[in-house]
């Protein structure tokens, strides 16, 4: 079974087909969520460490992201999308945020649970996003940010969606919420979700994540 570091190497070499073959093999025995948690995310984080060690440049990260994106899309379960018509989620990143691999994984997980997903991509201006939400009336809006500096704008987005007449639930996740204090985000009424395991739990049971780990006094 391939390890995250080997997979990161394939991403950096642009070996899309090889990477896909390994991933299909992994998926014979594992779920897509396990693929995201145990292979793809660690591989991308490893790429982040290689950059920190000055072994690669951001140009290499671009290529690696494109390959990672390719495999995430290639193994996505698109057929399920139609069946869950009764529950709808809109997935997007706020303006100024270009990291989108996490968004794609979140979309994929929702689809796996029978939801109908509108993936709107990263860097989506708020007026656009609100207009789409008013038209499509999603039950849930899922937001993601990797850059810590995007937390204030995430809050603005969350408040705007929560104020819509259709009252969608708002979920917020991504690297930015994992490395910062997010109580101010929670105070809006949005649900901050730490990782895909919490998301899966919520999808399966509707159980809200326990927040004890970051309660600040």
């Amino acid at each position: 079974m391939i390890q995250p570091i080997q997979l990161a190497d394939l991403f950096l070499e642009g070996e899309d087909m090889k990477a896909l073959r390994h991933i299909r093999f992994f998926l014979d025995q594992h779920s897509r969520k396990e693929l995201f948690d145990h292979l793809l995310t660690p591989a991308m984080y490893h790429i982040g460490s290689l950059w920190e060690n000055n072994e690669i440049t951001v140009a290499d990260e671009h290529l690696a992201t494109a390959i990672c994106d390719f495999v995430v899309s290639a193994v996505d379960n698109r057929e399920m999308a139609e069946k869950g018509l009764e529950r709808k989620v809109m997935v997007l990143g706020p303006e100024g945020e270009d990291h989108y691999i996490g968004l794609k994984m979140v979309s994929s997980l929702f689809r796996d649970h029978g939801w109908s997903v509108k993936y709107m991509g990263p860097n989506l201006p708020l007026p656009h996003a609100l207009e789409a939400a008013e038209k499509w009336q999603p039950d849930v809006v899922a937001l993601s940010a990797a850059l810590v500096y995007r937390l204030p704008v995430l809050k603005t987005y969350a408040q705007a969606f929560l104020a819509l007449p259709s009252k969608p639930a708002v979920l917020i996740g991504g690297r930015a919420v994992n490395v910062s204090n997010v109580n101010s985000l929670r105070s809006t009424g949005a649900m901050v979700i730490q990782d895909l395991s919490q998301l899966e739990l919520w999808l399966k049971t509707g159980e809200k994540p326990r927040n004890d780990y970051d309660i600040s006094i």
């Binding site: 140009a59 494109a66 270009d98």
Partner: protein, 255 residues
């Protein structure tokens, strides 16, 4: 900190730092971009700090590396850093902000790719829907009409192809099993051509009917169907009547 000496006229942000990374000197461009700062790490993004400290404190300085910076206006951006250590141990650094052309092109490409994929997916869904509809049409090309407790009338429409027969057979057999019909009347009045595959499938269907103890009668047979069906008749118990009228007005065939 001053803006004199070696950096005069240099059109790039540049610094001289001491071993503790305190800024000894900065170029005019550096001050314009980052403001007046005391220590180099103040202008480095939090999550580039570890990298900056490790690389800048190493004895053998790497000649070039990337760091993320925060500008005076609070903008986060990526830059190449070129560095050299002097004999006295001080550091000379030039910061070259990355032209975000690459970023822009990459993002545009990603968006295009996404759109292609969505279109691809929409087409795929459209195709699935069409296939479903076609299947439905095929199934409906052989509706069943229950004439009485014993007889089922199946008028066939359109060309009789392999797919067609395959599509309506399961439902027909299930229906016969449920209603215990003893006779099935296939009316070919509205039927077009018969293909070889269609004929083969029809033979299989009749075989199944025979096993279930159900008799088959064909009505409305046109000359072009006749020679095909004739071959089959040799092997299978099937009967022909010229018109549906005849079947309906007689009970002779219904046992």
């Amino acid at each position: 900190m001053t803006t004199t000496s070696q950096f005069n006229g240099l059109p790039l942000p540049a610094y001289t730092l001491d071993r503790q990374l305190v800024i000894i000197e900065g170029s005019a461009e550096a001050i314009e971009l980052f403001g007046d700062c005391r220590i180099f790490t103040d202008i480095v993004d939090e999550e580039s700090l570890k990298k900056a400290k490790t690389l800048l404190s190493s004895e053998v300085l790497q000649p070039k590396f990337e760091l993320n910076f925060i500008s005076r206006k609070g903008e986060l951006f990526l830059a190449d850093v070129y560095g050299k250590r002097s004999d006295s141990g001080s550091l000379s650094l030039v910061v070259v902000p990355k032209d975000n052309q690459l970023e822009r092109v990459a993002n545009q490409l990603a968006k295009l790719r996404e759109r292609l994929r969505e279109t691809d997916y929409d087409l795929f869904q459209e195709k699935e829907r069409t296939v479903e509809l076609l299947q439905r049409v095929r199934e409906l090309s052989a509706p069943y009409i229950q004439l009485d407790a014993n007889r089922l009338l199946v008028p066939l429409f359109g060309d009789l192809t392999e797919e067609q027969v395959q599509a309506f057979s399961p439902r027909l057999l299930a229906n016969i099993y449920e209603t215990r019909a003893e006779t099935v009347i296939f009316d070919l009045t509205a039927m077009g051509k018969i293909t070889d595959g269609g004929l083969q499938q029809l033979a299989d269907l009749l075989q199944s009917l025979t096993i279930m103890g159900t008799a088959s009668i064909f009505t409305g047979v046109k000359p072009e169907h006749a020679k095909h069906l004739h071959q089959m008749q040799a092997k299978l118990p099937m009967r022909f009547l010229s018109s549906l009228q005849q079947v309906l007005s007689s009970n002779r065939w219904t046992s």
